[in-house]
């Protein structure tokens, strides 16, 4: 940036000076001088030196962020328009939230289920495409505990804008506890409405796309809901995860996130209450 700023300053100042010093004073023609081979060589050689410096710096940076691959700690799969997040070692599966332990080198494998997406958390490192048919990898070592916003950074269809996610950096102890909780099967609430909701979840078509580990198994057509209530946001950062918002979402997903692949199931008020209660019990 400094080099570019320097060049811009040189050009701008030169221009400003020239425009004032050599503005038209009379109708006579100035000296018709042309060319100066030395000058041409200088202003070719100096930029070559500058860009060579930039290239060397680039290579140094690229090598610094690279490490040999091993089995990934996290597998992230981009779908239209949500992020599947799996922790292979523990079996935990979640969506649209990536938790990482501070200070530990973490290897993420980035895949895509349909079209090309891109995984990007600006504060944590580079962006990397999620391409169907290939695996990409990114090493992340988060410095401190914080929550960062992530986004899909490759146009992937109408809801690309709301294919956002969260990266939560915890202390190693908190992270391990979180991981254990996520890996566990779904909690079983005894509350009446939650029980009713669990029944409706299986009876209505929800279970055809969504998995709640301990209740059903399903291919990742849609986000895993096992611990959905523990997440801060819904629908790719579109909504805060509250009862009211969840109910709104179930009522008419396409109103909140047009073109999203979840259909409007025309749920009755009773079903909406039951399902909302059930899902909110899945901490």
């Amino acid at each position: 940036m400094w080099i570019c700023g320097f060049i811009l300053a040189v050009v701008t100042l030169a221009l400003a000076y020239i425009l004032i010093r050599f503005r038209r004073r009379d109708d006579g023609e100035p000296a018709q001088g042309t060319g100066n081979k030395t000058l041409e060589v200088v202003w070719t050689a100096v930029p070559i030196a500058l860009v060579t410096t930039l290239f060397v710096l680039s290579v140094i940076t690229a090598r610094a962020v690279d490490r040999p691959l091993r089995a990934p700690d996290i597998v992230v799969v981009g779908h239209q328009w949500w992020w599947e997040v799996r922790y292979p070692a523990s079996g935990a599966v979640t969506a649209n939230e990536v938790h990482l332990p501070a200070g530990r080198d973490t290897l993420l494998q980035i895949d895509a289920a349909d079209v090309v997406h891109d995984f990007w958390v600006p504060e944590l490192g580079r962006k990397i495409d999620a391409v169907p048919g290939r695996h990409n990898y990114i090493w992340i070592t988060a410095g401190r505990q914080a929550t960062y916003r992530g986004a899909c950074a490759e146009f992937c269809g109408p809801e690309h804008a709301w294919m956002r996610f969260r990266a939560v950096i915890d202390s190693p102890e908190v992270f391990d506890a979180w991981l254990a909780a996520e890996a566990a099967p779904a909690p079983q609430s005894a509350a009446a409405d939650a029980v009713a909701g669990r029944t409706r979840f299986s009876q209505l078509t929800c279970a055809n796309c969504h998995a709640v580990r301990g209740v059903n198994q399903q291919e990742p057509y849609a986000p895993d809901l096992t611990h959905v209530a523990s997440r801060r946001m819904l629908a790719g950062e579109r909504l805060e995860n509250t009862s009211a918002n969840l109910r709104e979402w179930l009522h008419e997903p396409n109103l909140i996130k047009p073109n999203c692949l979840m259909p409007n199931l025309n749920l009755s008020d009773q079903d909406l209450s039951a399902l909302t209660a059930y899902l909110e019990s899945l901490r």
Binding site: C4, V11, T12, I128
Partner: protein, 548 residues
């Protein structure tokens, strides 16, 4: 010399005069000047369409979480905006100017292949109309102007908009290649006696190099489009990983076209600047040979930088290093040009006409755009900034602040030659001020939006601190640009009817197009002046002066 007779009188007899309607005259013309005007008029209409699309986008983005446009509508509009501006505005506008000016600047009577010239225009126009017919069909293409697979495949873009897009671009591509062929043959074969290649006006030189670049780049697009159509219509799997194909192959192929294409969009603009700055500094170009040679360097290098659009794909170090290096290198010949233009002004006597104002604005703005480009070539930076509003800022700085400013300069410079009338300098200054302010207001702030994390190609964004304000400023700037365009149109309308008569050479310039009337007669020249240097009219006025 060539096999085409030069003397004007002989040619005129082959085309007997007939009395026809003006409309039929224009539709059936093969005269390069009229075809040039047709291109300029058509691109103006497409520019209005692309501009309206941009304003609609900016209205949608002015506030966070806006519902002015649905996501699907936004995606169609941003796709059409990009496709229109690249294929239906910038390139044809440049080719339209090249069409009008090249035969005049080399002392020829017309292009080498006049009927091919007419064909090129009409196939371009019909291609553009076909593209816009997709709206009538009910769904314009919506996968971006770059149509990455698999999103643009039938499985994810099931409507016919993508097919309209592919077929329209194939048609437009045919017209572009035909024009490039025509320009090459014209420049190689029809130069006036004494006009050696080393005495070519720099605009013509850049048009020549540009035409070769078109011949190398457009076929890559044609191959890509053909393969996409085979995928979509014959159910093949060139770009679908499910069938063994490769989505990334599309990116390689598309950018093998797409990167040279951006140089195709800028080289003739460099040519305009190389004509305008010397004339309004009253000095010849500082280093003719270096400017010409750097053009060839840029063209050759531009064929080897395409994967810098793919630094985030994860191709591996070899690719990142190789294309980072070549992309950094291409900044050098471009810098040589900028330094030469500045050196041309040094020691000169600068006339601040509107044309010159735009040329100076070009120097400043294009340099900013070029430097942000260097920041992308520094590929670790690209890993953060690619696919964000930083890219949107960069590309508009070089294509709008670069090419379009240069074309505004060209309009004010050559409008007198085309029409016989001067544009109003007063209105021109107003246009300049509004456009300059509006442009920087719209796009400078987008650098910061991108660095702050706003991705591109999004129909809306969350209400993060500062994002709403920055986007609103950008939107206001866009409307200021729109107003400035209206001022330009008003200027052109008023001046055509009541502008001051221009005369042959209102700027006291030196190249051959100024050695005939404004506008030129159908056969261009009554007599072509002798050519002994790159500045024939200077030599005529200064018989004692030295050669260039």
């Amino acid at each position: 010399m060539s096999d085409t007779p030069l003397a004007p009188g002989l040619i005129a007899d082959e085309y007997p005069e007939t009395v026809r309607s003006a409309w039929l005259d224009w539709i059936s013309t093969v005269d390069h000047k009229r075809i040039g005007i047709l291109y300029m008029f058509a691109t103006l209409v497409f520019f209005a369409a692309g501009g309206v699309e941009a304003l609609l986008m900016r209205i949608q983005l002015a506030r966070p979480d806006s519902h002015f446009l649905s996501p699907d509508q936004y995606d169609q509009i941003f796709t059409m905006h990009g496709t229109t501006m690249v294929f239906l505005v910038v390139v044809p506008m440049l080719l339209g100017f090249a069409n009008y000016l090249t035969p005049l600047m080399i002392g020829a009577r017309d292009m080498a292949l006049p009927r091919l010239n007419a064909f090129s225009f009409w196939v371009f126009l019909f291609g553009g109309i076909l593209l816009y017919l997709s709206f009538v069909y009910g769904h314009a293409p919506a996968a971006g102007w770059f149509a990455y697979t698999p999103l643009s495949e039938k499985g994810y873009s099931s409507r016919y908009g993508m097919d309209y897009w592919a077929l329209a671009l194939l048609g437009i591509g045919v017209g572009t290649v035909a024009t490039a062929v025509n320009l090459i043959v014209t420049i190689l074969k029809l130069r006036a006696p004494g006009l050696t290649i080393r005495r070519l006006p720099l605009f013509v030189w850049m048009v020549l190099v540009n035409s070769f670049l078109i011949l190398m780049a457009l076929p890559a697009l044609n191959a890509s489009l053909v393969m996409l159509l085979v995928d979509r219509q014959l159910n093949a799997h060139f770009f679908m990983s499910l069938g063994g194909g490769s989505p990334v192959l599309w990116q390689h192929y598309f950018w093998a076209f797409g990167h040279p294409e951006v140089y195709i969009m800028v080289l003739p603009a460099f040519g305009v600047i190389s004509e305008v700055i010397p004339v309004f500094s009253r000095k010849p170009i500082f280093g003719y040979g270096f400017v010409a040679a750097s053009t060839v360097a840029i063209a050759l290098l531009s064929l080897g930088v395409w994967a810098h659009h793919m630094f985030a794909v994860g191709l591996g170090h070899a690719w990142d290093y190789a294309f980072g290096a070549s992309s950094l290198l291409i900044a050098v010949p471009t810098g040589v040009k900028v330094f030469n233009w500045i050196a041309t002004m040094w020691g000169g006597s600068i006339h601040f006409t509107t044309s010159m104002l735009f040329a100076i604005a070009f120097l400043f703005t294009f340099t900013i755009g070029g430097l942000s480009g260097v920041s992308f070539a520094t590929f670790p930076l690209d890993w953060q900034t690619t696919d964000t509003y930083y890219v949107v800022a960069h590309m508009h700085y070089v294509l709008f602040g670069g090419t379009l400013f240069a074309m505004m300069s060209a309009v004010y410079y050559w409008f007198p030659k085309f029409s016989g009338r001067m544009l109003s300098e007063r209105l021109g200054r107003l246009h300049f001020v509004l456009m300059f302010i509006g442009f920087h207001m719209t796009f400078f702030i987008q650098h910061f939006l991108g660095l702050d994390g706003m991705p591109r190609r999004v129909y809306t964004y969350p209400d993060l601190p500062g994002w709403g304000v920055m986007n609103m400023i950008s939107t206001i700037g866009a409307f200021v640009i729109g107003i400035s365009v209206l001022v330009l149109l008003w200027n052109m309308w008023v001046s055509i009817h009541a502008g001051a008569p221009a005369g042959d050479n209102p700027w006291n310039a030196w190249t051959l197009e100024w050695a005939t009337t404004s506008p030129p007669p159908e056969h261009n020249f009554e007599a072509v002046p002798p050519v002994r240097s790159a500045r024939p009219l200077w030599d005529l006025a200064h018989p004692e002066g030295g050669r260039l």
